[in-house]
Subunit: 363 residues, 4 copies
Amino acid sequence: MSGNTFGKLFTVTTFGESHGAALGAIVDGCPPGLPLSEENLQRDLDRRRPGSSRHTTQRQEPDQVRILSGVFEGKTTGCSIGLLIENTDQRSKDYSKIKDQFRPAHADYTYHHKYGHRDYRGGGRSSARETAMRVAAGAIAKQFLAAQGVVIRGYMSQLGPIKIDFKTWESVDQNAFFSPDPDKVPELEAYMDQLRRDQDSVGAEITVVAEGVPVGLGEPVFDRLDAELAHGLMSINAVKGIEIGAGFASVAQRGSEHRDEMSPDGFLSNHAGGVLGGISSGQPITARLALKPTSSITTPGRSIDVYGEPIEIVTKGRHDPCVGIRATPIAEAMMAITLVDHWLRHRGQNADVSVTTPRLGQC
Amino acid sequence: MSGNTFGKLFTVTTFGESHGAALGAIVDGCPPGLPLSEENLQRDLDRRRPGSSRHTTQRQEPDQVRILSGVFEGKTTGCSIGLLIENTDQRSKDYSKIKDQFRPAHADYTYHHKYGHRDYRGGGRSSARETAMRVAAGAIAKQFLAAQGVVIRGYMSQLGPIKIDFKTWESVDQNAFFSPDPDKVPELEAYMDQLRRDQDSVGAEITVVAEGVPVGLGEPVFDRLDAELAHGLMSINAVKGIEIGAGFASVAQRGSEHRDEMSPDGFLSNHAGGVLGGISSGQPITARLALKPTSSITTPGRSIDVYGEPIEIVTKGRHDPCVGIRATPIAEAMMAITLVDHWLRHRGQNADVSVTTPRLGQC
Amino acid sequence: MSGNTFGKLFTVTTFGESHGAALGAIVDGCPPGLPLSEENLQRDLDRRRPGSSRHTTQRQEPDQVRILSGVFEGKTTGCSIGLLIENTDQRSKDYSKIKDQFRPAHADYTYHHKYGHRDYRGGGRSSARETAMRVAAGAIAKQFLAAQGVVIRGYMSQLGPIKIDFKTWESVDQNAFFSPDPDKVPELEAYMDQLRRDQDSVGAEITVVAEGVPVGLGEPVFDRLDAELAHGLMSINAVKGIEIGAGFASVAQRGSEHRDEMSPDGFLSNHAGGVLGGISSGQPITARLALKPTSSITTPGRSIDVYGEPIEIVTKGRHDPCVGIRATPIAEAMMAITLVDHWLRHRGQNADVSVTTPRLGQC
Amino acid sequence: MSGNTFGKLFTVTTFGESHGAALGAIVDGCPPGLPLSEENLQRDLDRRRPGSSRHTTQRQEPDQVRILSGVFEGKTTGCSIGLLIENTDQRSKDYSKIKDQFRPAHADYTYHHKYGHRDYRGGGRSSARETAMRVAAGAIAKQFLAAQGVVIRGYMSQLGPIKIDFKTWESVDQNAFFSPDPDKVPELEAYMDQLRRDQDSVGAEITVVAEGVPVGLGEPVFDRLDAELAHGLMSINAVKGIEIGAGFASVAQRGSEHRDEMSPDGFLSNHAGGVLGGISSGQPITARLALKPTSSITTPGRSIDVYGEPIEIVTKGRHDPCVGIRATPIAEAMMAITLVDHWLRHRGQNADVSVTTPRLGQC
């Protein structure tokens, strides 16, 4: 597979640059008979949309998605689904000075060397703009999973140095940060306002949880469910780390402490994060992503140009001071896409399996 | 692709259970003309081998690998390479009591529900035994990369609560822990001896580094190099977390601090860990893996059996009190396999690209 | 991979139904730096376009393609290329009676049973309309191959019972049949006119040739070049047979007669059709496709409806009396796409191979 | 995927050269719980085995297959299945003169140019010896299909110029030719004896039929079932043509004649060959393969050597005067493998589809 396709049975292929004519995706392998409409997709796109608060980029994109195929009389047909979002608010003149420059910590340098010829406007294909299509495709995946009783939700668990503990799911969609603790929001806002004054940026940590996942998803040994989740989540721009369950805390844990014991009433803990031996256990699947701070900051930085000469870069344009603020819907989307792919792969190979052992409830 | 194949152009497919007749692999897509012998593979297999110190499982497996095809007169032919390791020291009687029991934190429960019918002896396919084939296949990948000037080496950077700072590469292969600091070894040994007396286990953190990687490897947007590395590394048994470069430390970093500035003499830092925009930058690629503590400990634990009844489990048999101790060669292997796959994919698509911009040296 | 993607390194993914909003494709893995414009694609689309002669369907579709990404300042960037063609002339009312009926020899029955819910208008996804995207994507492939000196051309070698011998390439694009013999055209026209009066249809045979292909393309044993060509060509609607080189004539040939001997001046014959051991030999690659007669004819036929009741079907609407008449550009496209995919795969794995043995010229 | 893997969900990966140490395969994605033993595989291997009649190569290979993993207590576990056949009767001294020569119509020339370094003994990887693994893997596929009521059988429908009409299935395994007409056998034997005296070879046509296939298998538009069958069948050594159903006869057929009408009692004909719109219709799937005459004949032929110098080649060694004679089990195997892959892919995506329309019986 080429790099712009994700999945084996349920596949998502995308295209589109930051300043190109449009963004698009083809979702293939979606089971037929699933109710689907543009509204289903628009909901998650609106959660991700730039320009929706003063804390995110001021580029105004309506991000209106069209479904061009694969849906008939309100339900999927099982044929490939074409999605399209026309770009409307690209300001190309912001980038003309940058065509011969490599912005530090951006993909300019690597794209230049890999491809030789790159669309330098706004990061081209390397821009986070392409994640809009992941969210649109992920909404289709979420729709299928919801019909199976699987719910995927995420939240921001850390903004820069500020840890955010989980309080309620309801809070998450009621503030611009996807914070699960409403009481933290003023502190987060104050921090962001200062960041903007400092002309700097900071990283974030997102936690995403899938509940209601049945036991059995995942394809050992290489396509273990956690490995594929790591793949999908780390493919998101700016992600530098992934944890499942106890994650890096597992390093110092004793086996007697880490292991999730079982009883007829269910698992007694969930350090595994819902994945055992690379296969879902029925417990909530919890993953955490570490996002690096945005590289597009107005503080000058040292770099070189395409001739190898030293230059100083000041990134202008409209940028997110913290990309993590809009990452939650993207992480949910990638988790959803991965889970649907594995749902179909699992039932494809194992549809005849029938066991009498009762499935354990969650802890 | 099925779950037992990794890679797109350079692929590794494996088979083999802990107590089966043999383990095997097919490596496909290896460039022709590469000098290759069983000795090349055996070297890394011996680094991984169980029974080589008192700190690892006492199962004695010679792990002698045979090359059955794809090599002629000492060089690869470009055709598929078959590898085989016969199992010799499986003690099946150790596991007969366990056929109807689910050992907590093992894959027994999930395999049972996914497949309905499982080889329960020693963990069957879920056992870390299969990683022997990854190491053998990875040795082929390392051979190719070495010819291109790429070196991949790993070490243990943390054992349970004990952090191990990097001192020298030479130390790494001179102790049973793959510790890069020889002075830490007595402390590690003492810790392990106590762990064994406690009948418990602990996790570990492995760091693996690839140097000499040219700029340009990686296939955005989904097959970003870091995403694929995360996939390959997290597919290793017991891995619960992956970091690239600054990893989770990126969360609290400012953009002005995290970004790796550039000068004509090279990059000025490497928080990115050698991957920018999902493409290798030419800097050393650094990844860290968090391994959970082994689930096979002799301390009794609560669980259920296949009828859903509560039971108490005591895991007997010969097990690693810290699987991390043998994980270094496996992590190196997965990184090597991923890099070769991307080497071939990159030159397949971009062989005609030629840029005059000088490549930056490492920091 | 899902069924709507073709290729491994150079991939084409398509969507779009006969009466949907639009058709689209994503071409991924195209090497960067290739000059590309909408005109390059439109040329081949116009050759395929319906409504361009009285011998093809009277549906008028301008088939104007847009390139939405992956091209910057007139050259490809190496990123995924999005293509879009808006449908404009679908007449849905022609099909409303057919929603509960299965037209014999159409995909209605099989789509109904496979998916349960189908877009019945004009054949939905099973309609030959989707081949417009193959032609558009194939034009990109042809562009790359032309830059390498590879030319792909096809022609009609048989219309119903009328065999057409090859005379010149120039004739092919000068008549509506893609006939390589201008003198045959009146006979073909007369035959077609009678066919229309008979309210019937007939099959056709297309020959497609690739010249200038270097030795070495193809990936034994399963992805032999001829096997992949067969796959791509037989995936075209209505194809029931494929031949490479001598094809079915090989059955009765002696080995002494079939084998293509070699001399320093080149091959002495080409019964192999340019593929030896599944790898291109440098000789022209010749393939022939057998296309069945169109199933959409106005002559009544017996069938059943979705309730299993017997019915009589008369297919109305605007249809090709011989789908073969427009198949030539589609066959060229599939051959081009397959060859580019193998070009990239071959150089990906074998870029370092260098042999001194001279390459043989063509016979 | 690399060229030595076939399939998407149910995959077969093989290795092994004619004169290498062993042949092997890994079958992945086999549903669990399927009874499987080495006897199941040996049966079909024995049908294919060289040295079993005077009409085939005189190389004596027992072709004893071992199952090394993926089967426990007589049933598959769902994990990857490793298969191994040790080569025992390779006579390498027969080929030493040929290392610098290209035998006409063999893959020597193309392998040399593709890979630069080849195993020249007995054709290396290009030899038909590798098909033993396809037959072994295909036996697993057949086992699964048989449990679903699908039967795959093939026969020789033409030997050189001699057409063989189908009489009974029972005859097929009672003669060395897989002839479905016992009365033809003396004529075939006489023809072959003369061929041997002429030091020549001839081609053959094989027909393979799958019965009991349910409606719904196949993944339009590119992985149409017939396209994938064509891929699998044409990947077999020496195949130059593929037909499905009416095949090339469709060219001259009228639509009114070709179309298979339907009635409540079933289809009224089967020109489609069991595939409609790329999806199985429930009718028998019939495919025909054209095999070219063996290139290894003792009649001298003109060729060149690795220096480009003209030479005369006389192929010694032990060869099949008609490779078609052993092709039937290989064609059955490839059809079985393709059908299982599609069985799993279909139920993976469409397991929830339920239609009330009755399925049609066969004609």
